[in-house]
Symmetry: C2
Subunit: 337 residues, 2 copies
Amino acid sequence: MPTIKEVAKTAGVSVATVSRVLNNNGYVGEDTREKVSQAITELNYKPNAVARSLYKKQSRTIGLIVPDITNPFFPELARAVEDVMNRKGYTVILGNSDEKAEEEKAYLTMMEQKYVDGAILATNTMDNEQVHAFNKPVVAIDRAIDSTVPTVFSDNLSSSREAVRHLKDLGCQVIAHVRGPEHVNNANIRCQGYIDVVGETNWFHNGYIVNGNYSSQEAYQSALTLLKDHPEIDGIFAGNDLMAIGVLKAARDLNIVVPDQLAVIGFDGISLCETTFPELSTMAQPIYQLGETAAEMLIDLIEQKQLTKPYRKYSAQLIQRQSTNKSLIMSAHDDQS
Amino acid sequence: MPTIKEVAKTAGVSVATVSRVLNNNGYVGEDTREKVSQAITELNYKPNAVARSLYKKQSRTIGLIVPDITNPFFPELARAVEDVMNRKGYTVILGNSDEKAEEEKAYLTMMEQKYVDGAILATNTMDNEQVHAFNKPVVAIDRAIDSTVPTVFSDNLSSSREAVRHLKDLGCQVIAHVRGPEHVNNANIRCQGYIDVVGETNWFHNGYIVNGNYSSQEAYQSALTLLKDHPEIDGIFAGNDLMAIGVLKAARDLNIVVPDQLAVIGFDGISLCETTFPELSTMAQPIYQLGETAAEMLIDLIEQKQLTKPYRKYSAQLIQRQSTNKSLIMSAHDDQS
DNA sequence: TTGAAAGCGTTACCAA
DNA sequence: TTGGTAACGCTTTCAA
């Protein structure tokens, strides 16, 4: 790879001049500019980004840390982030934290050492201390780290309420909840939304809340027990789609027909929902948009622009599919009669 | 962030000495080493990776280019790559190419400018010229770029044959194929595998091959037409799982019962297969392993170790689930009788 | 065993 | 309008 020096030499000018035409600043005579441009194309010169970074203390690189890219929620998010970053000339470093604090910490130090310009953290185990020790712009996705960290997230509370209300509207009498892990903030909020809607009913008790740890497998097991112990349940709100899929499986194994004996709704809006049978209703977060917004905010932060709104709350949208389809329930009843 | 200079100063030694203890090479007296270590921890010093890169012309960073991280095949691959890279102290840059040659080219030049140490290319549109212009170690995944580029891939030919043979063994009489895009190498090979097995049968003609472009949607449409036009079809081999899911949907819409009226098998082994109904049989590639191997090969290449085998072929494994489950077919017939 | 200094490829300041 | 040069933070050679 040719360096700026060689370009200067073949153009017969100094490196300073080459640098000027490269960055398009300072005065450069029209003819010299021409000579330099020629030399550049002739040598197929590409500026060395590392040398630039060293001097400028920035790298046009950002870090994206997710718990696990294998979790279907994150590829779409990552794609959105990468799309806007790429468009703006930034490069994305990807890290899987598995929600482990030490992993996240390791990524952050690595990023500092590499002069990363900022980071997007889609993670639930980062403490404020670490984030502030990381002395660069950060945007949190999906969870507020603390009030000083710009955040983009979904309105988990009202959306989960809406999900449960949807089940109610369908005519469900006894609605259970398969919740996510207790150490995950949004899981707690979604659970709260559920309680908000059904907590005061006369049938409600805590036994209707079981933990599925945001995992399809675990939700399957929990739902199996739950549905066996409580045949009266005719609606389930799962804290995410993965768990809802587990619930669907459990119902099938128990010969419980969804939606007519049991309505099921999930949360997140991952594309998996369309491949299940019956297709899964869900409170769909605008995943791509979340990622896009986070990326745009981070860039503004990096470029020292003022953020108009450091907190960006989106609401999830009810997508009704077969797993809570009333007309489907009706026709099923019709068939039986 | 403190620099090596400050460390040297507080330790009362030269930067050269600090560098020596940092890299653990050259002679350093026991007592000086101690002093330096103290200073390092005292200042919480972290070496500047960019400065290092500039000097060493390497960055402990590799690039991973995939067509689209949103395609369920790639998160697992990416995860595998990231896992081994992370373990070995490398950082992963992620790029989505959308199979566009110019995007890929742009990523490669960016990577050169950043002194990336090598790249893993999971892509189908890279021409040899570009790859060789990129003057760094490269490992291809899923497609041989050319014989000089180390590659890890699945044995698409024999695996697709096995898939079709599986359908035959089940007793399928007329087997169709929903193939992937024509410009994608492995799609052609998988199609060839299908032809190898059924091409000589008396019922076969080209109308039984339709294109689904590796997309669930398009496969759905194609399958709809195919199944309507050819009710005699009782087995479908789809070129990937996504398309198989589309086929499943089409069958459902046409009230064709899988597996007893129509057996369906996919290819890839993405986790989606377990969430469909009926659960999808597939030729499962060892996706994680492919990624792992590619990553390990790349590291060997970077560290100038001799590759024992520059071509690594894995065979996909038949995973039989409900969509081709014979006993299930049997019991279904029993039920009807 | 240690230090001085050159060099990695840029940018930006100061002079000319 | 241009060039010389210090500086970015590190590694390594050479000398001491």
